[in-house]
């Protein structure tokens, strides 16, 4: 299993993709080895289901392999792969929630802060050391629950930007959205998470309003 840096160096990645395009199966296997764990994690984040995530992993790499000739190399192979995996993950969600629309294109405000204002309700400073209040497992549970409660469009953007640490441009490319659309979804995702976490992490007692 790959334990070295999470990403291949771009030149190495390009070379492997070229070899794979020319029919070199070993080169493609190396790309699988490098990215399968990341894609599995990402699919799990979006689908919130291990079985679905494993299906997504399989389908995403198979699609990437089948359509490798369509990858033009203008972007990173990993971003292209993420795009396929995100689409497969959303398809899984659609199948599971029959009748419920799961789309990345749902209209949201364009990030001028107007609509986002309605998402700010809890105004409370946080405890400086929540880790003293909660065990490691409890903390993880709180974070997991908050992220799971987000709608898929917000969860996906947050995961790509703030967990996977893709740039705004890479995220836009992976999700086939414009940069302003990514920004407005990210703002809403962050504010919704902030709201949920405040319920667990707010400072209690005499110091709760010390900021005023």
């Amino acid at each position: 299993m790959a334990t070295a840096s999470l990403h291949l160096d771009p030149a190495q990645e390009t070379q492997l993709v070229q070899q794979a395009k020319a029919g070199d199966l070993d080169a493609f296997t190396q790309l699988v080895n490098r990215y399968d764990g990341k894609i599995l994690r990402l699919a799990k984040h979006i689908t919130q289901n291990q079985e679905d995530a494993e299906d997504v992993l399989q389908e995403a790499f198979l699609k990437a392999f089948t359509h490798l000739d369509r990858f033009e190399g203008g972007s990173r192979f990993y971003t292209w792969l993420v795009r396929i995996a995100v689409n497969e993950s959303l398809m899984k969600l659609r199948k599971r929630r029959t009748g419920k629309e799961v789309s990345l294109d749902a209209p949201v405000d364009m990030g001028d802060g107007g609509d986002a204002q309605s998402l700010v309700r809890e105004i409370a400073v946080w405890d400086d050391t929540p880790e003293k209040r909660y065990s490691h497992e409890e903390m993880r549970g709180i974070l997991d629950q908050a992220i799971e409660s987000l709608e898929p469009i917000y969860r996906t953007v947050f995961v790509l930007r703030d967990v996977e640490e893709l740039s705004t441009e890479e995220t836009a490319e992976a999700l086939d959205l414009t940069v302003p659309a990514v920004k407005s979804r990210l703002l809403r995702a962050r504010l919704q998470l902030r709201e949920k976490l405040t319920k667990s992490f707010r400072r209690t007692g005499d110091n709760a309003f010390a900021y005023l």
Partner: protein, 90 residues
């Protein structure tokens, strides 16, 4: 001075360090005069930090050996199909 609504519009850029110096200065001025927006800024920043700090989320998830074997086998089969049928989907 910025309004609270304008502050929210710039929040992401400030947190991501992509705001220009003038915007940053205006946001800083706003939060130093508006306790509520200061809290929103501080707790949103902590929200991002707390997720980034929990490294397991961004670490690759171990892929079960059986799943990996199944995947590589499927790719190999697809490779054969690709070779015999050009680029058509199997």
């Amino acid at each position: 001075m910025l309004t609270c609504k304008e502050f929210l519009g710039w929040l992401n850029d400030c947190l991501d360090n992509t705001a220009d110096a003038e915007t940053k200065a205006q946001v800083e001025k706003h939060v130093s005069n508006c306790p509520n927006c200061w809290v929103v800024y501080d707790t949103t920043k902590k929200t991002i930090d707390v997720y980034k700090g929990d490294a397991y989320r961004s670490e690759p998830q171990p892929v079960p050996e059986s799943l990996k074997a199944k995947l590589l086998e499927a790719i190999q089969r697809r490779c054969g199909a690709k070779g015999s049928k050009g680029n058509s989907e199997a």
